[in-house]
Subunit: 386 residues, 2 copies
């Protein structure tokens, strides 16, 4: 007992004295929740309380404190790990998690991404180029209309055709009907193109229905799941990811979770939240708003997500970054220069803004990430099918 | 279809022009997620897109926009309701939810608190005075030691003896052993005092274990549940609350959720998050840091939580506010003047800071909310029992 500790880097706002006091407070608040003088001597004082391992200036307003906690405090559960990381101190402004290092004895409790980057490429039959993703929308369309859009996107060569995250089980497009129709439509298109486009169904759902919806989607032939951990809870994603009977690639969406990253002074860094925690949950790809889109992420925020999604974490596979959020097709070349090929480009509304039809726009999207030769092959196969 | 709409009040930072543009953006972002020119005419444009119903200056920096959404967009699910309220816009700084009004056709989908204030009073056999709560801690104690503390607190007349929210299933106090011992200890004390003290077990747990833990706790004779919706997801709380086989009072804890309220400009107001959403989840009491404690909630933040916990919401019962967080016993009289008797006082470490023993301190705590006569009765009953 008490051999291994995990390390959390907190950025703390304040002068040296105040920041150090806050760092010490974190050590108590996140564990014993008692004032120093009430903590019993012996094991609890020696091992349970957090320890400041490092403390240094970060910039003119903030300090970095690396605090270690005994692995045992997190009790082998993602839920309790989150509590030690940011439970009570989420209520205190001016504290932001910037780094997280778990020892091997904790990482072994996590399966991580089932597919990961390599597995997702094999699943989609795409060995090298960047992957393409779009979202079925808008909310309000019928299941039939959404399936027709899905068909056209698959014919146009989009790899991953996902529900918009706002498609749940509303009357205008009930989950079961929509998922059945969309999965069928994409399969039908695949038979024509010879491709392996995937329909990813949104399984963000009530706690007592999410497993059933995932099972239903898989049985219908959906190829993946979309889920919002900020809404269903991160451990619910882990539960789905670890269930072998539900094994499909998982795409996590940032809905309701943005609040953790929007302040530079409070919350959790992009790297830890979208990169590292997504991997602990077992996501295979993480969706987030790209820099220069209609959200406020910076280029370095996005690069840090890629780091968190790929840097070494025991045996956990790297996951795919999936930047989207108001990304027009014209930005693909720039994105390729930032992300390289290890990326999924998510373009939603942007596919409709070019004058040509949806299928043509999808083909154009694909041509941007693919050599001329492959595009011609794809066109020859599908030109008479519409 | 499309007769009823729900109203969300957003506080938006910026000048009039920018704030109005942001309000319009919310109408699209939270529903169709398409730019205006791409939204189809007809039903979607008329009903699905959010509508600005009211727009007015709030203070020198912010405006208030009341936006209405069709009830159908939330599809009768708490998960999708959260998504419409604050899904994508959680990623945009400078937007805060200040109000929420759901029509009857939506509220009827929610059971709300099973016990509520009245039910919890009946359950505990306390008709009028303020209720008393404490937390078993620190993390690191064995189940046996925690049970001994629970026993003393119950002998001392504390109504609700809850696990600290950091007690999960760690090796030093495994869930099953701890819960069995603590429930037994409180029952044993109740036989002596003739009281009805309750042990509330922390069921914040992995998604695939939470229902089992709740069932186990209930079978052991635990009297209530503690759960952190920020960690397990709010709909998981609703699932537990609606399960008749698990029927026990539910106490929700703010761990990992504070980030929604810490900024005055972003997130969700105290009233909506801790008051109204807790009721939708079916919590019977909401724990939050009191003003003047070691967290930064103001007195008016706390009063607004009480409003959200009690104002009319269809047939949903009012829930108990449960302020805690560094609250010493000396503050009880002041608190009574703010909250009146419709409150649960949560004092944790504060029970250890007076020189007397734990039982004496609990009795003193109780005397602060109770007339002399009752205290004497309680003392006579229990004085020879320790």
């Amino acid at each position: 007992m008490f051999k291994e500790r995990f390390l959390v880097t907190y950025k703390i706002r304040g002068c040296r004295k105040d920041s150090y006091a806050k760092a010490r407070d974190i050590c108590f608040e996140q564990t014993v929740e008692l004032p120093d003088n009430l903590v019993p001597h012996g094991m609890i004082r020696e091992h349970i309380i957090g320890r400041i391992e490092e403390f240094k200036k970060y910039d003119a307003r903030c300090f970095h404190a690396v605090v270690s906690f005994a692995a045992e405090t997190a009790g082998n559960e993602l839920t309790q790990l989150l509590n030690v990381l940011f439970g009570n101190i989420s209520i205190k402004p001016g504290i932001r998690i910037e780094g997280l290092q778990l020892p091997g004895c904790m990482l072994k409790d996590y399966r991580g991404p089932r597919f990961g980057r390599k597995g997702l490429r094999e699943y989609l039959g795409v060995s090298r180029r960047a992957l393409l993703c779009t979202a079925l929308k808008p909310m309000g369309l019928s299941g039939r209309s959404l399936a027709e859009l899905a068909y056209q996107c698959a014919i146009g060569g989009i790899d991953i055709i996902k529900d918009d995250h706002g498609l749940a089980d509303q009357g205008f497009a009930p989950f079961r009907q929509r998922v059945r129709l969309c999965a069928q439509a994409v399969r039908r298109a695949n038979r024509i193109t010879g491709g392996r486009s995937m329909y990813a169904a949104n399984i963000t759902a009530p706690a007592d229905q999410i497993t059933d919806r995932a099972r239903f989607a898989r049985e219908c032939g959906a190829g993946g799941y979309l889920v919002s951990p900020g809404i269903v809870g991160p451990d619910t994603v882990r539960m789905i990811a670890e269930n072998g009977a539900l094994a499909l690639p998982i795409f996590v969406h940032p809905a309701f979770w943005g609040i953790y990253v929007v302040s530079p002074d409070s919350g959790i860094s992009h790297k830890v939240l979208f990169g590292k925690l997504s991997r602990l949950m077992g996501a295979d790809a993480v969706i987030y708003p790209n820099f220069g889109g209609r959200f406020s992420f910076s280029r370095s925020d996005c690069v840090s997500i890629v780091e968190g999604a790929s840097e070494r974490m025991g045996g956990l596979k790297p996951l795919f970054p999936c930047p989207g959020g108001g990304m027009g097709l014209h930005r693909v070349p720039e994105m390729l220069s930032v992300y390289g090929n290890e990326v999924i480009f998510l373009v939603g509304g942007g596919l409709f803004t070019r004058g040509a039809g949806l299928v043509e726009n999808c083909r154009y999207f694909r041509s941007l990430v693919e050599g001329e030769k492959n595009i011609k092959k794809h066109l020859t196969k599908t030109k008479n099918m519409l």
